[in-house]
């Protein structure tokens, strides 16, 4: 070609090759889920906004997309549920182990834009991990927001993430925490039922609320429905979606959902912009 199209444009650092990060701390959350704190062997810490993700590499095993789950002003933190070869290898990584990190990729939750509103955070299962940074962000500047609610559901009490932190948050007067489980086990005295049900009972002013939702797709659909029923405007409900991802950089094609590429246009979406596609089976 006569001209060389943007071949000189900079490639984002870490877009292709993983940067080595050492596991500084590891903490078991549940039977199959661990939280890892990572620090770079060299160079600047990784700055990621709430809702963004990295591609996390276990040496010789493989690489998967994982959301940041820590405070965006602190070190890189990931919470990982072991469901297959790569996530199992990551969860087995004791302090000192070196993992590879590419990114951050994707668009963040719209926190910081809509100050003054009530904030409703609805999470299902591991979906609390990508939302925890939002909570840190909001609590650090609590005055800027109206009411803040965290509604969280898991399958059983044993699957609850960040249990001691939730306890602490539950004790705050400026934060409403609702937790529910699909099926109770002995000793559970909390609520039983699916998360969308918590939406009906939570106190917030629907007309001036922003809702952030993450969990299994079905849970997000029902939650969005409950929020809409309460009167939350469709354009103020946000969800984070998940598809297979190989590159994170918009080049591999795997994360398509209809007209969008999740790594490029998501993973955080305004619900009304993706609802129609998310509801077509197998799209």
């Amino acid at each position: 070609m006569a001209t060389s199209p943007s071949a000189e444009a900079p490639t984002a650092p870490g877009a292709t090759a993983p940067r080595p990060f050492r596991v500084a701390r590891r903490r078991r959350e549940t039977k199959d889920t661990w939280t890892l704190e990572l620090e770079p062997l060299q160079g600047d810490p990784l700055a990621a906004a709430p809702g963004q993700f990295t591609m996390l590499y276990a040496f010789g095993v493989g690489e998967v997309p994982i959301s940041v789950s820590g405070d965006s002003t602190g070190p890189l933190v990931h919470t990982v549920r072991a469901v297959g070869a790569v996530t199992e290898a990551i969860c087995r990584s004791k302090p000192g182990t070196v993992l590879g990190v590419r990114g951050p990729f994707g668009n963040p939750w719209p926190v910081g834009i809509d100050v003054g509103l009530d904030v409703v955070i609805v999470a299902g299962g591991i979906g609390l991990a990508p939302l925890r940074p939002v909570l840190y962000h909001v609590l650090a500047r609590r005055d800027e927001y109206g009411g803040v609610a965290l509604l969280y559901g898991t399958r059983t009490p044993a699957d609850i993430l960040y249990a001691s932190e939730l306890e602490r948050w539950r004790g705050r007067f400026d934060l409403h925490v609702g937790v529910t489980v699909d099926s109770a086990t002995a000793g559970w005295r909390g609520r039983v039922g699916v998360v969308p049900k918590l939406v009906a009972g939570a106190s917030f002013d629907p007309a001036s609320t922003i809702a952030l939702v993450c969990g299994p797709e079905l849970m997000m659909r029902f939650t969005a429905r409950s929020l809409l029923e309460r009167g939350v405007p469709a354009d103020r409900i946000y969800v984070s979606l998940e598809r297979n991802m190989r590159c994170g950089a918009g080049h591999c094609g795997h994360c398509q959902l209809g007209p969008t590429l999740i790594c490029r246009d998501g993973p955080v979406y305004r619900y009304d912009e993706v609802a129609a596609f998310a509801e077509v089976p197998e799209l």
Binding site: M1, S6, T16, A17, E63, E242, C252, E282, L283
Partner: protein
């Protein structure tokens, strides 16, 4: 104007400038793109006869160098090679060190690029060079590529570039463009598209074109436009497909489609890749390979709990709606350039132009575009 024999001087001129010259050549019953050491390796006197599910080489009764349409290869073979190692890593001090693969930026010269293929390259440029992240391997290979385009005078039985607005006449994006003229003496018109293209032409023995040459060239290309093997009504395909995600034609085509992925491999714009992470047995070194992937595989959409697109129906729908519909949303153009490869190389002869026509014939779809 240059003589057909002067193509040898063109190959030499490009090689002398340090280019790896790639062009059409006959291998195992097909015209493929490969290194050409000499213009004698071009498919002199060959043509390809193409139809849905069939491809055959045939002798021409002339010595045309570019008297065929397109084969199973496209230039993506060289800009986005089927397998590329991205990096290697070695364990060190309890951690590991990653070494990115040195970039292969040996300058390439493509000899014999069709108009549809120029459009396909531009489409992949958009994907790899114009987003938030630049694909460094593609960028390195693409950067200095020298393009010798050719105007088509012998379209194939599966071609429909006229319907897609991508040919047969070469528009922009070339260094040199050739038009092969057969009537009234075998010769080629050369047009210059860049400064370095002009410099290369200056080195070749040539004559100034006369009116008869220009008219002959014009007739050759305009004739091709009237002999397309296929046509497609491309009006608002984006909208037609978006409105028909549950059309019964998806069930019908799913009965025929083998989900083999051939169509995605031969398509010059299909860009999907996967990564393969491997390590040695001792776990001391590892590497990552980027390899072509296809939306027809089950793994492609695998997430924990199973694949998103389990049925063949949903995978065919993904391919067709992406190519002709959502590509517009994602990259601002159609993902199809009308080259016909997917039609020719489909083992069961599935024809995208037929499938799209069937979907459009739905009443509902027609409501949107009268």
């Amino acid at each position: 104007m240059i003589e057909p024999e002067t193509l040898e001087a063109l190959v030499v001129a490009l090689r002398n400038r340090g280019y790896r010259v790639l062009g059409p050549t006959v291998r195992e019953g097909a015209i493929v793109y490969d290194d050409v050491g000499s213009a004698a390796e071009l498919p002199v006197g060959w043509t390809d006869s193409q139809d849905a599910g069939s491809y055959r080489l045939e002798r021409r009764d002339d010595e045309a160098r570019f008297g065929y349409a397109v084969g199973p290869h496209s230039w993506k073979q060289f800009l986005l090679p089927p397998r590329v190692r991205l990096w290697q890593a070695k364990r060190r001090n309890g951690g590991f060190e990653v070494e990115e693969e040195p970039l292969d930026d040996a300058p390439l010269a493509f000899l014999g690029v069709r108009s549809c293929e120029l459009h396909a390259i531009a489409i992949q440029d958009t994907v790899f060079l114009e987003g938030r992240h630049v694909e460094r391997d593609y960028a390195a290979r693409r950067k200095d590529a020298f393009v010798v385009a050719v105007n088509c005078f012998e379209p194939g039985g599966a071609c429909f570039c006229v319907s897609m607005g991508t040919g047969p006449k070469v528009g922009a994006g070339y260094d040199l463009a050739l038009t092969e003229i057969l009537e009234g003496g075998h010769r080629l018109l050369v047009e210059v598209g860049s400064e370095r293209g002009g410099e290369v032409l200056d080195e070749l023995p040539r004559s100034a074109p006369e009116d008869a040459d220009l008219e002959g060239a014009e007739r050759a290309v305009s004739g091709a436009a009237t002999r397309m093997g296929r046509t497609l009504d491309a009006t608002d395909l984006h909208g037609v497909l978006a409105r028909n995600l549950e059309h019964e034609r998806w069930d019908d085509v799913a009965e025929r489609c083998l989900t083999c992925g051939n169509c995605t491999m031969v398509c010059p714009t299909c860009f999907c890749t996967s990564i393969e992470d491997v390590s040695d047995l001792a776990g001391e070194s590892a590497e990552r390979v980027r390899a072509w992937d296809s939306c027809f595989s089950l793994d492609y959409s695998h997430i924990h709990g199973g694949s998103v697109r389990r049925s063949g129906r949903s995978r065919y729908r993904q391919w067709l709606t992406h190519k002709f519909g959502t590509w517009h949303d994602q990259f601002g153009t159609s993902g199809c350039v009308g080259c016909g490869r997917c039609i020719t190389w489909c083992p069961v002869g599935i024809d995208v132009t037929e499938e799209l026509a069937a979907i459009r014939s739905n009443k509902e779809a027609n409501d949107g575009d009268d």
